[in-house]
C-alpha cells in the first residue's frame, strides 16, 4: 500500500486549497458560522460544478468521475484545515457510501446522480439518545409495509440533518428486533420532524430527527445491513479523521507562526524551550494523525481487509491528536487564544466535537482491541 499522493491528487489538493482560501477564509468562516445560513450554497455549487468534488468518488454510471476515497480524503483534509461548515462529509462521503455499497439499485440510480451534481444534501441518521454510537441494535423500529417499510423512532446527532433531502435511517426489524435494516427516508414526509440542535461546535450542524410511522425503502436488510452500517461508519470516521488531520495541521501552523512573532521578555516565545517542546509534541501528534488517517483512507479506498481496524485506529489517534493540538494552540496563544474573536476557539471546539462524533477515542480503542484479537 502506497501512502504517497499522486501528482493528480496533489493538484486536487492545491485546487481545493485555493478555492477555500478565497471563499472560506477565517473571516468568511466566522461570518458563516454566525449567520443563519446553514452552509455556503454558492461555494457548495462551485465545489460541485467547477472542481467536481461531489462527483469524484461516484462511479461513472451514476454520473460520477469514478475516482476513489483517497481523492475524497484529500478534499476532507483541506476542508478540515479551514473548518469549513459544509454537508460534504455527510452527503458526498457517508450517505453516498451507504447508497453505493447498499443493495438498492433504484435508490442508487435515483440519488447518486443528484449527489454527484451537488443537488441534494443527504445524511446518515444512526445515533440515538442513550445508545452507543456503534451499537448494532437501534431503538428505532421498522416493520414491513407492502413492498416497503414503515419506521418509527428518534435519532440524534444527525450531521446536517436539517438540510437533508434524504435520510439514511437505521432501525431494528424482524422478530424481537434482532435484525437490522438501513432505510432511505424522505424527510419531507409529514411523520418526520427534524430539529436543529444548538452545537458546542458552531462549525458543524447537528439535528435530531423523530420518525412516526414514516414510509421508507430498504437500502439493506439483515446481515447485509449490519455489514453495510459498519462499513459506512468506518467511512464516516475515516473521513472525519482526514478532517481532523487537516484541522490539526492548520492549528499547528498558526501556533508556530504566533510563537515566532509574539515577544515576551524581549524574545519570541518560540525560543523558550517549553514552547519549543510543546510544539515538537504537537508535531508528533500531527504526524501520527496524518499517518493514521492516510493509511485508513488508503485501506478504505482499496476495501482492504484491515480497513475496519485502520479506521478505528485513525479515529482514536486523530481524536487524541486533535484535542492535544487544539488545547496547546489555545495555551500557547495565551489570553488572545481564549477570546471569541480569535480563531483558536473554533479549532478547539471543532477538535472536541470531532473527538466525540461517532464515538470517542476510548470507544475506538476498545474496538481496536476487539478487532486485533485481544
Amino acid at each position: 500500500m502506497r501512502l504517497g499522493f499522486t501528482e493528480e491528487q496533489d493538484e486536487l489538493r492545491a485546487g481545493v486549497r485555493r478555492l477555500l482560501a478565497e471563499r472560506a477564509a477565517p473571516d468568511r468562516l466566522r461570518a458563516a458560522t454566525e449567520a443563519a445560513e446553514p452552509y455556503d450554497t454558492d461555494l457548495w455549487k462551485m465545489m460541485a460544478r467547477d472542481l467536481g468534488l461531489h462527483a469524484m468518488a461516484i462511479p461513472e454510471e451514476y454520473g460520477g468521475a469514478g475516482y476513489g476515497f483517497r481523492e475524497q480524503s484529500v478534499v476532507l483534509e483541506e476542508m478540515g484545515r479551514t473548518l469549513l461548515r459544509s454537508p460534504y462529509l455527510s452527503t458526498v462521503v457517508v450517505a453516498a457510501a451507504a447508497l453505493l455499497h447498499g443493495d438498492d439499485e433504484e435508490a442508487r440510480a435515483r440519488w447518486l446522480p443528484r449527489i454527484a451534481a451537488g443537488e441534494v444534501v443527504a445524511t446518515l441518521a444512526h445515533a440515538e439518545p442513550g445508545v452507543g454510537w456503534r451499537a448494532g441494535r437501534p431503538r428505532a423500529v421498522a416493520v414491513r409495509d407492502g413492498a416497503g417499510w414503515q419506521v418509527g423512532g428518534a435519532k440524534s446527532h444527525v450531521v446536517d440533518g436539517a438540510e437533508a433531502g434524504l435520510l439514511l435511517v437505521s432501525a431494528a426489524a424482524g422478530q424481537d428486533g434482532r435484525d437490522l435494516v438501513l432505510l432511505a427516508v424522505d424527510p419531507g414526509h409529514p411523520g418526520v420532524t427534524v430539529t436543529e440542535l444548538p452545537a458546542l461546535d458552531t462549525t458543524r450542524r447537528l439535528a435530531s430527527v423523530t420518525l412516526d410511522g414514516v414510509p421508507a425503502q430498504a437500502v439493506a436488510t439483515g446481515e447485509r445491513a449490519r455489514r453495510l452500517l459498519d462499513r459506512v461508519l468506518d467511512v464516516a470516521v475515516t473521513g472525519l479523521a482526514c478532517e481532523q488531520a487537516g484541522a490539526a495541521a492548520r492549528a499547528l501552523e498558526m501556533t508556530v507562526e504566533y510563537a515566532k512573532v509574539r515577544h515576551q521578555f524581549g524574545v519570541p516565545i518560540g525560543s523558550f524551550q517549553a514552547v519549543q517542546f510543546t510544539c515538537a509534541d504537537m508535531l508528533l501528534h500531527l504526524e501520527a494523525a496524518r499517518s493514521a488517517a492516510y493509511y485508513a483512507a488508503a485501506a478504505i479506498d482499496r476495501d482492504d481487509e484491515d480497513a475496519p481496524i485502520a479506521a478505528a485506529v485513525a479515529k482514536a489517534v486523530c481524536s487524541d491528536a486533535g484535542m492535544a493540538i487544539a488545547a496547546e494552540m489555545v495555551q500557547i496563544h495565551g489570553g488572545i487564544g481564549y477570546t471569541w474573536e480569535h480563531d483558536a476557539h473554533l479549532y478547539f471546539k471543532r477538535a472536541a466535537s470531532s473527538a466525540g462524533l461517532f464515538g470517542d477515542a476510548d470507544l475506538y480503542r476498545e474496538r481496536v482491541a476487539t478487532l486485533a484479537g485481544v
Partner: protein, 399 residues
C-alpha cells in the same frame, strides 16, 4: 474532618460563626457563588434577591465579617489565615456565599496594607469594606502578559496629579467597578522593573473607555480599557512613585496561603455533582470513568491535605513551604483536566448546547471551556513552572 487548631481560639470563632450564620442565613442566597452574588444582585436593584442581599450585607458589616482579615482599625477583625480558613469552612458548611469586596479585598487591599502610607490605608481601606469603592485590576496589556514588567501605559506627573495614557486588557468585572488599580511606566529611562508606578485610578468621566472582550465560552467576562489622559491624585500612588513593582508583586502573591487552605471546598462540591451526572447518564459503572472520577477525587483530597499542611505551618508561626507555591499550578491544571473528564462523561450529550439566544452552555461545557483560561491568566502555567524551578528548587535561571 475540620480544621483543628489545638487551641480554643478557633473553636470559639467557629461557634460564633455557626450561631451568626444560623441567624442570618438567607435561603434565597444559598448556593450562589460570591461572584454571581456580586454580578447578579449587588448592582441590580431589580433583582428579586436584592433586599435579601442588602440585609445580609448589613449584618455582615455589623459583625465585621466583610474583609475580616484586615485590621480592626480599617473595619476588619484582624483574622489570621487559620481563622480565615475556618470562616471559609463555616460559610461553605452553611451553603452561604460570603460578602466579599472582590479585587479590592483580594488584590489591591493587601498591596495598600503592605505598601500604603498610614494615611492611604486609613482613607482607602474602609471605603473598600463599606462597598463605596469597587476595584478592578489594570495590570496586563496586549504586549505585557506573562512579561508584566513590559507595561507601556504611560503615567506623567502634572502638579499633584498623575496623567495616564495607554491600554489595559483582561480586566475582570470592570463593569462592576469604579476604580482601576493599574501599573504604568512613570520613568521610561529606568530599567524595566524600575520606573513603574501602582496607581488607583477613578474610572468615571476620566478618559477611560471600557469595552467587553467576549471569551470562547461566549461570555463577556473580561474587559479592555482604552485610557486617554485619565487623572488621579498623587495620593493614589501606592508604594511611591516609580516604586510600584513591589506593590504589584504583593498583589500577585496575595492569595497563596488562604487559597491553598480552602480551594478544595468548591471542587468537592463540583466532584459530587459530576458523580451525580455520571450516574444520571449511566456512566458511573464504566471502569474508565471510575478511574477518572477516582483520579479527580484523589486530586481534590490532595488539595485538602495540602491546605492542612499550609495551615499547620501558619499555625506554627512559620511560612508555608514549597507546597504553597504550587497552588495555582495544581488547581488550574487539575481543573482543566476535570473539564475534559466531564466532557468525556457527557459523551454525545456534551456536543449539544442548551437552547436559547447567544451561546448558552451547560455547567460541564462551561467548565470545559472556561478552565482553559485558568492555566493562562494570573501567571501562565509556564511562568508558574519557571518560578517553581528557579525560586523553590533553586535551579539556575534559564536564559
Amino acid at each position: 474532618m475540620t480544621i483543628d487548631s489545638g487551641d480554643g481560639r478557633l473553636d470559639r470563632l467557629r461557634a460564633e460563626l455557626r450561631e451568626w450564620l444560623g441567624e442570618h442565613r438567607r435561603p434565597s442566597l444559598a448556593g450562589m457563588g460570591e461572584y454571581d452574588l456580586e454580578r447578579e444582585v449587588w448592582r441590580n436593584p431589580e433583582s428579586p434577591l436584592h433586599d435579601d442581599f442588602q440585609a445580609f450585607e448589613q449584618a455582615s458589616l455589623a459583625a465585621r465579617l466583610v474583609c475580616p482579615q484586615w485590621p480592626a482599625e480599617y473595619g476588619g477583625r484582624g483574622l489570621g489565615e487559620l481563622e480565615m480558613a475556618v470562616l471559609a469552612e463555616e460559610f461553605a458548611r452553611a451553603g452561604m456565599p460570603r460578602v466579599t469586596r472582590g479585587m479590592g479585598e483580594r488584590l489591591a487591599g493587601p498591596a495598600i496594607l503592605a505598601h500604603g502610607t498610614p494615611e492611604q490605608r486609613a482613607y482607602f481601606l474602609p471605603r473598600v469594606v463599606s462597598g463605596q469603592d469597587r476595584y478592578c485590576q489594570g495590570f496586563s496589556e496586549p504586549d505585557a502578559g506573562s512579561d508584566l514588567a513590559a507595561v507601556t501605559t504611560r503615567g506623567v506627573v502634572a502638579g499633584d496629579e498623575i496623567v495616564i495614557t495607554g491600554q489595559k486588557i483582561w480586566t475582570s468585572r470592570a463593569h462592576l467597578a469604579d476604580t482601576l488599580f493599574l501599573l504604568c511606566r512613570t520613568d521610561p529611562a529606568a530599567p524595566k522593573h524600575k520606573g513603574i508606578s501602582y496607581v488607583l485610578v477613578p474610572m468615571k468621566d476620566n478618559g477611560i473607555t471600557v469595552t467587553s472582550l467576549v471569551t470562547m465560552s461566549g461570555e463577556d467576562a473580561f474587559c479592555q480599557e482604552y485610557i486617554d489622559g485619565a487623572r488621579a491624585p498623587l495620593f493614589n500612588v501606592i508604594g511611591g512613585l516609580n516604586n510600584g513593582w513591589r506593590a504589584a508583586m504583593t498583589t500577585l502573591g496575595s492569595e497563596r496561603g488562604a487559597v491553598a487552605a480552602v480551594q478544595h471546598l468548591e471542587y468537592e462540591e463540583e466532584w459530587r455533582a459530576l458523580v451525580a451526572r455520571a450516574r444520571e447518564l449511566g456512566r458511573d459503572t464504566d471502569p474508565l470513568v471510575r478511574q477518572d472520577l477516582a483520579w479527580a477525587y484523589c486530586q481534590v483530597h490532595v488539595m485538602k491535605a495540602t491546605g492542612r499542611r499550609v495551615l499547620a505551618s501558619l499555625a506554627a508561626g512559620g511560612r508555608p513551604g514549597a507546597e504553597a507555591s504550587l497552588t495555582k499550578l495544581v488547581w488550574s491544571e487539575y481543573h482543566r483536566r476535570l473539564g475534559e473528564i466531564a466532557m468525556e462523561i457527557e459523551g454525545a450529550e456534551g456536543l449539544v448546547r442548551p437552547p436559547g439566544e447567544g451561546y448558552p452552555l451547560t455547567r460541564w461545557q462551561k467548565t470545559f471551556l472556561t478552565s482553559r483560561a485558568e492555566t493562562i491568566f494570573a501567571g501562565t502555567s509556564e511562568v508558574q513552572r519557571r518560578i517553581v524551578a528557579e525560586r523553590v528548587l533553586g535551579l539556575p535561571k534559564s536564559s
